[in-house]
Symmetry: C2
Subunit: 542 residues, 2 copies
């Protein structure tokens, strides 16, 4: 896709509109501007504002989302089959462009500063960790190096919750991670670094306070020492790295089931190790922390055509506010930014950030091609039912979550922001390259260090994470009303004119600070809803 | 590997021996035949029985497991670095050979028949299903089409177990499957058929009695209708196949969370649907069933050098007995048969079975190569510590589980034996092609319809399955003694001369019938240990 073909760098006015009303728009309805619908248009779907000839560009968000597959007189319903998918933006072409610093909207920045000055509570209440990270919770983390131990761990975790946790009221919970990696995998494959790094960084999650217990079997491919939290300055604790043979001083951070005396011995050891950690965790207290230490993630799932005009821009506004206040906001989902990469590249802080953005796009292009597909495999039946014709339209709506500000950094899947780039901590708006799959993106963002996630959805999903609070935002009011005990915010009010992007963004900003401080408990947490962690493993299994 | 180079088709005597004693063999120990050890040899490891020059073939199981990397005088410890990995058997070369029917050992067959005639209880007590399959348990199965619903399902399943299950004493339990598939996946990728078929067949598992409840979100890639149990002859039940748009008569088999009134509505609907099924399941009773209706799987994990001479041959003997009695015994783990494929090809019942065996090997070769690895990525640090120098030695020990009999059929990952091959049910010894990863192999064998699994291990793993009983056999007595509350059988007695392969095989045969009949509860089940299901997805995620 080049500039001429798509107008990629020359935003134009849209030539389609979205049906906002809950029942859609009936045939023969007169719209603003005198257009009369030639068909009934379902809610969230597009209607042509001009006569479109076959091959004419269909414009939404000022971008070409596709080309008319047939004659589409104004007033037509532009359903999926009427839209020809454009080529993805050419990464090499963007790479060849001279770098220009991102255009700054000084008036917008000043407006953000005014909002921040007017908001109280610009600090949040978090748990400070020895490694400099800050948690939003005080949890006992138990991290298996391999799925084989999960059966025993689940039993131990339930027993810890029931018998030990009540004695430690300052500990928020037990998170016994469960994942499908660790053995029967090609541990030295070129892409194996991704799942290994993910697990290592999950074990170092800020909400575990540097106290995660690693549980290994003893004969697995992924030696437990490789994921044990590195704790510089903590004497006698496990070091990251090393193979199966390594038996570092930090062996006390690791329980090996093959070394235990049967099932009874395994449970006894796990209970004892858990209690040691609970005692230490119990002494911890929240303290006031500047926003520059807050790391959150944003994600969308089960999106519809409203997501990109209601929930996601509100999240984007909150992200801009947070970044302006010094916080770190990760957005992700490679296949859902791929078609807007030209827009993101133009926001890169420096040439290195642009290079890294493009590098992650190339990596994923190759990964998908190796499996015989491309980014068009992304949209779901639900996305399409919700009015998203293709991945371009989905992507343009998805990237709205990243706000308008400068993109300060890029993380590969599962990389941590804390010590990335030779000790330079990555702050502001950061692209954390992950798959778009909700549960995989959530897992990888947790590994990257988020202590809270904001999740928008139009179709509705009961998504939740055990390790961190998840604030859920509805893109349309119908789903928010139908699931009152699952949504924390209703961005559908933006579509109906009952709120604005900025108002809802400010509401979300305040809710993020409250949830990160333990003052607000999102709905998913109240019910204890948690998806499994699904680690991204692009390498083969054996 | 050709015949000359490896002696693949001309078994010779071994030129290495295995150190059996628990502490290994000390330096300077005189062995049978007058050989004196030149180094201490750890338990399970190999000692040279002849002088080996660099490049000389190292023979175990009458097969070349590798070549001497250096001068190895007799009495030397043959550790991993002393063994050069041979090439894998050439699939095309085997394919080009004229087919010969497998050699039958009539004396062995007659001895099996004598054993079977002498054994009482040649039937087992199972649950007959409308589709002709027979279960070993009477369970309520709940199968999510997508990971997004897992958080809610887990809460519902705990509530069902606590509040409903006690009212239905004839129902053995609730299995709410948990998997990482269903959305954010390339659903039309060439290899996507594998995970989809796996989930569809898990939902049809014999232990669910055709009553599995499918739970979908509503916008996921994997439309729930595609995995709903097909129930020919059951009026108003869901049909297999169809896409997102399909809303078959069997919608009552499917709960869609997006259609429920919030979290409270989801839980209420799931409880109501569960109770309906529990009422029907409660009426079921075990009945005497001929062994021809029994389908079991065999697997090894955390193997050592004993596995191939104790536990696995005992499993093989039980498999031969079962197959002779008409039962179906699946063995699996492609990378662990790959180096013995010439031996399996010679046991193929007919040219089509041989072709299918080779086809599955080729598929996996390509799959691994696409990820930049080969079958040598299989052995684990634990395998090597246990004396297995490489994948050839591991594979030769692994295939011992399949017994000596004719291989009657081949299943691709997740395919069911019941209706394979145009209605012809596949019986006897069957190769179910799966990855070797324990939890993936277990998942795929369950999808293929096993109602019980036999699992051998030398290093020790607390492996278990929620859907079917798992009998665990130790390959050496040390681990069996150290885990008395996890192992059902100790095959280490074969190494110490306290039992024979045949005796232990017969003991296992009887235990399989008892466990399948609910008369014996294996240790893993008594504790409720269950690994997660991990579906094999060789296609990309998006």
């Amino acid at each position: 896709m080049n500039g001429n073909e798509t107008g990629a760098f020359t935003p134009k006015l849209d030539n389609v509109a979205i049906a906002v009303a809950e029942g859609g728009i009936a045939l023969g309805t007169r719209l603003e501007g005198g257009i009369v619908t030639l068909e009934s248009v379902p809610q969230g779907h597009k209607v042509a504002l001009v006569d479109l000839k076959p091959g004419d560009a269909i414009l939404r968000y000022g971008q070409v989302i596709g080309y008319a597959a047939r004659l589409l007189p104004r007033g037509s319903w532009i359903e999926e089959s009427a839209v020809v998918l454009p080529k993805a933006p050419d990464v090499d072409e963007i790479d060849a462009l001279p770098f220009s610093p991102p255009a700054r909207d000084l008036a917008f920045e000043a407006s953000l500063d005014r909002e921040l000055a007017g908001l109280s509570g610009i600090r949040f209440e978090g748990y400070r960790n020895p490694d400099g990270s800050v948690g939003s919770r005080n949890m006992l983390g138990i991290v298996p190096s391999v799925q084989c131990v999960a059966g025993v761990l689940n039993i131990a975790a339930a027993k810890i919750e029931k018998e030990l946790l009540p004695k430690y009221p300052h500990v928020d919970g037990v998170a016994a991670l469960n994942h499908g990696y660790g053995c029967g995998v090609a541990i030295d494959a070129p892409n194996a670094e991704i799942p290994i790094r993910t697990l290592r960084n999950l074990a170092r999650h800020p909400n575990f306070g540097g106290e995660a217990l690693i549980v290994g079997l003893g004969c697995e491919k992924l030696a437990p020492e490789r994921i044990a939290p590195s704790c510089a300055g903590c004497q006698g604790r496990a070091a990251v790295g090393g193979g199966a043979a390594a038996a570092p001083a930090g062996a006390s951070d690791i329980v090996i089931l093959q070394e235990q005396a049967g099932f009874a011995g395994m449970i006894a050891t796990l209970m004892a190790e858990a209690e040691k950690r609970l005692e230490r965790l119990e002494a911890r207290r929240r303290e006031a922390i500047p926003l520059s230490e807050l790391v959150i993630g944003v994600q969308c799932g089960g999106s519809d055509a409203f997501s990109g005009v209601t929930a996601n821009p509100a999240i984007g506004y909150a992200a801009d506010l947070l970044a302006r206040a010094g916080a770190t906001v990760m957005f992700s989902e490679v296949t859902e930014v791929r078609d807007g990469i030209h827009l993101l590249a133009a926001r890169a802080a420096d040439p290195e950030v642009r290079r890294r953005l493009l590098e992650e796009m190339r990596w994923y292009d190759v990964y998908l091609a190796n499996g015989g597909v491309d980014r068009s495999a992304n949209p779901t039946p639900g996305n399409k039912k919700g009015g998203l014709a293709n991945i371009v339209e989905k992507a343009l709506g998805s990237i709205a979550k990243s706000g308008r500000g400068v993109i300060e950094g890029v993380l590969s899947p599962g990389e941590r922001s804390y010590e990335h780039g030779e000790g330079r901590r990555m702050k502001g708006i950061v692209f954390a390259a992950t798959p778009a799959s909700d549960f995989v993106c959530g897992t990888e963002q947790l590994a990257s260090g988020i202590v809270l996630q904001v999740f928008s959805t139009g179709r509705g999903t009961p998504y939740g994470l055990a390790m961190a609070p998840v604030i859920k935002i509805a893109s349309r009011s119908a789903i928010a009303k139908s699931w009152p005990d699952l949504f924390d915010l209703d961005a559908g009010k933006i579509a109906t004119g009952d709120s604005t992007i900025e108002e809802l963004g400010k509401e979300l900003f305040a809710m993020i600070l409250d949830a990160a401080s333990g003052r607000y408990e999102p709905w998913a947490d109240r019910h204890g809803i948690a998806n499994d962690l699904v680690v991204f493993n692009p390498a083969p299994i054996t």
